[in-house]
């Protein structure tokens, strides 16, 4: 449920290092808490995001939540398919439901994120 290779923010985003880039999405916990996601708003390619500043919004029938970037840098890709089909956030939060890819300005920021164990402790879950 919380892959070991990912880093996690306290606001429930995940970050995956892919070479010099970082792919970003939200965790299973966040997706479950939101329940059925119906809408996602993502930044434009080329825009700047900052560490733990909002980069978008995700909405379910029940609630609206800000998305926080786990790293500072330039957005080099966005998941346009997700805008059309936001429900995959509920079914495949670490795969199809990735949100943005960032070219980080300071990869050191990733060290400030949580590893899977620390994240699970945060949300009060144990690896099953």
């Amino acid at each position: 449920m919380y892959p070991k290779e990912l880093r996690y923010s306290k606001e429930h985003e995940w970050a995956k290092v892919e070479g010099t880039r970082v792919r970003v999405g939200i965790t299973k916990f966040a997706a479950d808490r939101l329940s059925d996601v119906v809408y996602v708003e993502l930044p434009k390619v080329g825009s700047e995001v900052a560490f733990m500043q909002t980069f978008g919004v995700v909405e379910s029938v029940k609630a609206v939540s800000d998305l926080y970037s786990p790293v500072s840098g330039k957005v080099v890709e966005i998941n346009q398919a997700l805008v059309e089909k936001p429900e995959v956030i509920n079914t495949d939060p670490y795969g199809e439901a990735w949100m943005i890819v960032v070219e980080p300005r300071d990869p050191g920021e990733l060290k400030r994120l949580l590893d899977a164990d620390a994240y699970m402790a945060l949300i009060g879950e144990r690896q099953s």
């Binding site: 119906v38 809408y39 909405e59 029938v61 609206v64 509920n90």
Partner: protein, 369 residues
Amino acid sequence: MDEPLKRTPLYAAHVAAGARMIPFGGWEMPVQYSGIMEEHRAVRTRAGLFDVSHMGEVDLVGPGAGPLVQRLVTNDVGRVALNQAQYTPMCTPEGGVIDDLLVYHVGRDHFMLVVNAANTVEDLAWIREHAAGDVRITDRTAEIALLALQGPRAQEVLARLTAAPLEAIRYYWFLDGVEVAGRRALVSRTGYTGEDGFELYVNATHAAHVWNAVLEAGRDAGILPAGLGARDTLRLEAGILLHGNDMDKTITPLEVGLGWTVKLGKGEFIGAAALARQKSLGLSRRLVGFTLRERVIARHGFPIQENGRVVGSVTSGSFGPTVENSIGLGFVPPTDAEPGRRIAIEIRGRAVEGTVTKLPFYKRPTGGA
């Protein structure tokens, strides 16, 4: 707001079924079990079972009961036959909606009012304050559990648990003293989802038994327990109002399209003069339905714009799983209330385009079984 949350007799059943519980109107209620979308679709296409035991039940008994109800509500209770139910607002002298409720004509000189959970205490106080003559007022909320079985297969499912002639219960009529799964129930053909269905009033001690029996009887029909989340999306698609969201004491029934429940000719009732005045002077705002071009959700309080100018605000908004659109209700000036009118909703600083839409957004197919 520091009062501890109340729990229905089905609390343990909800937790066991994996429900997510939330505070609602002073109660701890299930918002969803398997998921709002899935539960919504089950109700539209098969059957869903809701625990709405948080609703308040107030019994009015005695020769003064009929006249009291008639004075308290805007609709004409004189037209309600025995075993019939009626939807009606209850207003302040200024015409504001204190609550919207169902009046059940249970017996000669016996009416049961079913009121919204969040308003039960205030309603009771209001009713008692206006009581006159020979009438006994009893709050039966704690002893009555209310289950709502809704969906196209509701009758078929319920028929497995009762010998009562369900097909003979017409819309907004009921049968009292019916056995459902071996327990005594009042069974009404009412609901809040836009689907055919029944509401089952049972003694709180029998709630879990009846709940489980209905789920079991509906299993092969694909019944699902459904929570408040689906209840809200279902009622919104059906264009049904929610007190506290779409109306309150500062809003009159005429402004929200409930003019049909205001019977000015029935004789004196609380709010009559104000409502008559408003009717003759005309309305300054009207509640309308709207559909947005995007799936982004217009939430309660968001501004409604017309040509860049704020003209009103959203009262309810959600994504409609059946209509597959972002839909909502809100106030606009009467001049902007025509279906087809272009409006925009200000959502987090952005004007999202939409269209005033005729209500309901969803209407169930009629005829055929």
